[in-house]
Symmetry: C2
Subunit: 95 residues, 2 copies
């Protein structure tokens, strides 16, 4: 899996409002109504992560969820991160 260039990342991020490149990771925070809703979305995302064999660095505090994506083996952002961000957006939109 090849590391994407800054230009490639910028182009990809135009499709995903709210995602930002911070310290070489794609980052976005979400807020839900309560813990149950936040954890339900996390559970849905967790199954997608297993399917894609790609996992986030994520932090949850009650109704808030902060997600950071990067590809450890490539030491940067790859298409795997873009694909997972796309799936996360879809899951959150459906929640």
């Amino acid at each position: 899996m090849k590391k994407l260039s800054t230009d490639q990342i910028d182009r990809a991020l135009k499709e995903f409002p709210g995602w930002k490149l911070v310290n070489d990771m794609l980052e976005k925070s979400f807020t839900f109504n309560d813990f149950k809703e936040a954890f339900s979305v996390m559970t849905h995302i967790a199954f997608e992560c297993e399917k894609q064999d790609h996992h986030p660095n994520w932090e949850n505090v009650y109704n808030s969820l902060s997600i950071k994506l990067s590809t450890h083996d490539a030491d940067g952002i790859t298409q795997k991160d873009i694909d997972l961000a796309k799936s996360i957006e879809k899951i959150v939109a459906q929640s």
Copy 2:
């Protein structure tokens, strides 16, 4: 819910190896075999949190889980944190 004194916290922590008081939060990190195992334990803990109406600040990266507990309303550690730490230890021990 009353904030516990440092002495009370120290006494309680003697029952929970690995838990430490860091920046006014009870903190412990756990490592599992893989993401699926880590998230399964998180799910079990999540149900317990809802039952106790008390929620952690927690971060997961693949097979690692870092948990921080404090009681926002009391601006410190209360019996609610001790109770949740006890439940988490039980859940992890059974996993």
